[in-house]
């Protein structure tokens, strides 16, 4: 019981990181209809930006932890947003309206570029950092097993919920969110009604990249070690989460992320760590067989 509770806490923490990345995938898919393969690597870039910002701030002599974390978060999100915008501008915008597989290959190319760019510029070795927020609270003790909720996990949950609240407000209440939803429903009609679709799509990538950078920041804090390759696996799993939740659906992405995180953690805890990815992918396949549009996805009405 206590063990399961601990796994639940760990799973939710991991799931929130996946959920944040998945939102970026699902948003882009909903509007442009393409898999943004470079998104996982933008997450990785965000993680590296956070690392560099933390190092720079400590070199500048800023010792207040909350201030340093806040500055890092803002810096990483801003620069990663610039990366997202540039990727869209360079690799996807020229291919708008082209046939379906061209942006996919271009995205795979961009993913290779980002991975190797970070490998070349920052080196291939793993980058470990010390725990920045140590400690936590004991929730309960049962049979010698202490359930612990660390401050880090609480911070991750709090930041995710805060960011998701801002994001929900942005999508549901602001003019930008309205144009985004309009583009998601019908890109051509939206442009006929005077919406600058290029700008909206660009902003979608900016927002998605910023969310991925927040996830990268939290990944760095939570695991304390990153390398240039983390974007690939995290990216596939987040995309799996987006598909599981029903691609195109924003709450679905978060739900899918939580599910993937929980599956992964519980499988590692009770069965085997080696096959945790197999478990996540197998469940994806099983869910899609019975619910081909994901959990919260809308069935596509086909008109002939």
């Amino acid at each position: 019981m206590a063990y399961a509770l601990q796994q639940l806490i760990n799973g939710v923490t991991l799931g929130m990181i996946y959920g944040l990345i998945a939102v970026g995938y699902t948003m882009v898919y909903g509007i442009v209809g393409m898999i943004n393969f470079a998104h996982g690597d933008v997450f990785m870039v965000g993680s590296f930006l956070s690392l560099i910002a933390l190092l720079a701030l400590s070199a500048l002599g800023i010792t207040s932890v909350p201030l340093a974390l806040a500055l890092t978060l803002v810096f990483a999100a801003a620069i990663a947003a610039l990366y997202g915008w540039t990727v869209e501008r360079v690799a996807y915008r020229p291919l708008r309206g082209s046939f379906r597989l061209a942006p996919l290959i271009s995205a795979i190319g961009m993913s290779i570029v980002l991975q190797n760019f970070v490998q070349v510029s920052q080196g291939a070795r793993v980058k470990p950092i010390e725990a920045i927020i140590p400690g936590g609270i004991h929730l309960m003790d049962q049979g010698g097993f202490a359930v612990q909720l660390s401050w880090m996990q609480m911070a991750i949950m709090a930041i995710t919920l805060f960011i998701l609240a801002i994001f929900t407000w942005l999508v549901t209440k602001t003019p930008l969110g309205r144009t985004m939803r309009a583009c998601e429903q019908d890109l051509k009609m939206a442009s006929l009604l005077g919406i600058d679709t290029d700008r909206t799509i660009g902003l979608t990538f900016v927002i998605g990249a910023a969310l991925a950078a927040v996830a990268g920041f939290m990944f760095l804090l939570y695991y304390g070690v990153i390398d240039f390759y983390i974007g690939f696996i995290a990216g596939i799993k987040a995309f799996t989460a987006a598909v599981l939740g029903g691609i195109g659906s924003l709450p679905g992405a978060v739900l899918g992320g939580l599910l993937i995180g929980l599956i992964e953690v519980f499988w590692s805890a009770y069965f085997s760590v080696e096959y945790k990815d197999v478990a996540a992918f197998s469940i994806l396949i099983v869910v899609l067989v019975f619910m081909p549009t994901g959990i919260l996805g809308r069935a596509e009405v086909e008109k002939v």
Binding site: I52, Y83, L95, I112, P128, L288
Partner: protein, 441 residues
């Protein structure tokens, strides 16, 4: 003036992008990570972006022209030239071993492996319109099937080749079953997940596959029972024909084996396209609903596409295993699937010649890049380049990724985009790519 302002803005963006990641390096030192500053490298990169943008804008104008509609006459001209290119390529391929250069034969073998993979995947993606991001799984199944059968039961290459193909096809059908109802990108992610599952199982099932250490000592193929060993005994190639045994004989033989296998793939897929099955594939790609209403069995059509595509992947995998004599899960990563898919898309989806050309350009280009970069690194003895010369080979994949993006932006429909329909009422004519659907999954 606009060009200058535009280039300036680009340089500013580049400064934002590259300032933190190129200019600041988190280097591991004795006391954990420390920050190094590299102002010169940043300035060089930003300067390059400035110049590049300035050149592009002044050459082409600020707004890029719309993607060119294909010119019908050009498509026909291309397909006519294609008729001459194909035989020339074939003759060149057959004649290649007579150059006697081991380097070119090895390169040719590598390119032909990718051509074969490309033609195999082309059946799934180009003909049937099913987006498969996990093709490397079948390549891996073929390779491991042969390696395990050969090292465990001592079976020869020619016995195992069909077995490896059949096993891979079986896996293809097994993957096909659950994903029959999925479309488009759902299919893409499931195939991608399947590829990853196979790789993870290969890494972790140590008792069977020897895990990350891989399988070594895989036997080489024989020519009707004649081995290519160096001792020149009576049962070997050299001994039978009374010639001096040499390594190059085996290399040549392997080259002709993959050439034969690739041509077999090409021949089978060309013939299949004329069968009702092949026509059903192409119809499926164009419109699944219409297919259903015309009574085509969509389930069987999709399963055969997956199965036959996987079959050739399995053949290629068995060849890969016998050529390398050593395989490990590292050879079967997503990047392989992506490369093969890029070859198919760049080749113009469905065009056999296009796939071959794309494989030559991409695989040959990658190898040329490897040699070029290491040559360049050797030339840079001057201390100014001290840091960069040793790192140059690392730039290979970076350039490869950029090339993928640039090629797609310039030619989104691939190198050879026109093709001749399999069925035509009157004389078949090459049609432009804008008339061909790409399938929805």
């Amino acid at each position: 003036m606009t060009a200058l302002r535009d280039a300036f803005v680009s340089a500013l963006v580049a400064l934002g992008l590259f300032g933190p990641l190129v200019g600041l390096v988190a280097a591991s030192g004795e006391h954990g990570l420390s920050l190094h500053v590299r102002p010169v490298a940043t300035a060089v990169v930003v300067g390059l972006v400035f110049l590049g943008r300035l050149l592009i804008v002044s050459w082409r104008g600020r707004n890029r022209r719309p993607i060119a509609k294909t010119n019908r006459a050009r498509t026909e001209r291309l397909s006519r030239t294609g008729q001459y290119i194909a035989p020339v390529l074939l003759i060149a391929a057959v004649a290649l071993p007579f150059t006697g250069s081991r380097y070119y034969i090895d390169l040719g073998t590598l390119v032909l492996t990718y051509i074969m993979l490309g033609w195999g995947l082309n059946i799934v993606v180009g003909l049937a319109g099913l987006l498969d991001l996990g093709y490397v799984a079948f390549y891996a199944v073929g390779a491991y099937s042969y390696a395990l059968l050969a090292t465990t039961f001592g079976l020869g290459f020619w016995t195992c080749l069909p077995l490896a193909g059949i096993l891979a096809a079986l896996w293809g059908v097994m993957l096909g079953f659950p994903v029959l109802r999925l479309r488009g990108d759902y299919l893409a992610i499931v195939t991608l997940a399947f590829g990853e599952i196979i790789r993870i199982v290969l890494i972790n099932w140590v008792s069977l596959t020897n895990g990350p250490n891989g399988i070594g000592g895989i036997p080489r193929p024989t020519l009707f029972g004649l081995a290519f060993s160096m001792d020149g005994g009576p049962g070997t190639f050299g001994g039978f024909f009374h010639i001096e045994p040499a390594v190059i004989q085996r290399i040549d033989f392997l080259y002709y084996v993959i050439l034969g296998l690739a041509l077999l793939t090409n021949w089978v897929s060309l013939r299949l396209r004329r069968l009702p099955l092949g026509r059903a594939w192409e119809a499926l790609r164009e419109d699944e609903v219409a297919c259903r209403s015309l009574g085509i069995n969509v389930r069987n059509t999709k399963l055969t596409a997956f199965g036959i595509g996987a079959l050739f992947g399995g053949f290629a995998g068995a060849f890969f295993a016998t050529r390398q004599a050593f395989i490990s899960p590292e050879s079967f990563t997503f990047i392989e699937s992506a490369t093969v898919l890029a070859i198919v898309v760049l080749g113009g989806l469905g065009s056999q010649l296009g796939v071959a050309l794309a494989a030559i350009v991409m695989v040959g280009g990658l190898e040329a890049l490897r040699d070029g970069l290491s040559f360049l690194g050797d030339q840079m003895n001057s201390p100014i380049f001290a840091g960069i010369a040793s790192e140059l080979p690392l730039y290979r994949m970076l350039i490869f990724g950029l090339a993928l993006v640039v090629m797609m932006v310039l030619r989104p429909r691939g190198l050879v985009s026109g093709r001749t329909p399999g069925v035509a009422l009157t004389k078949p004519k090459a049609i432009g790519p804008d008339l061909v659907a790409e399938g929805r999954g």
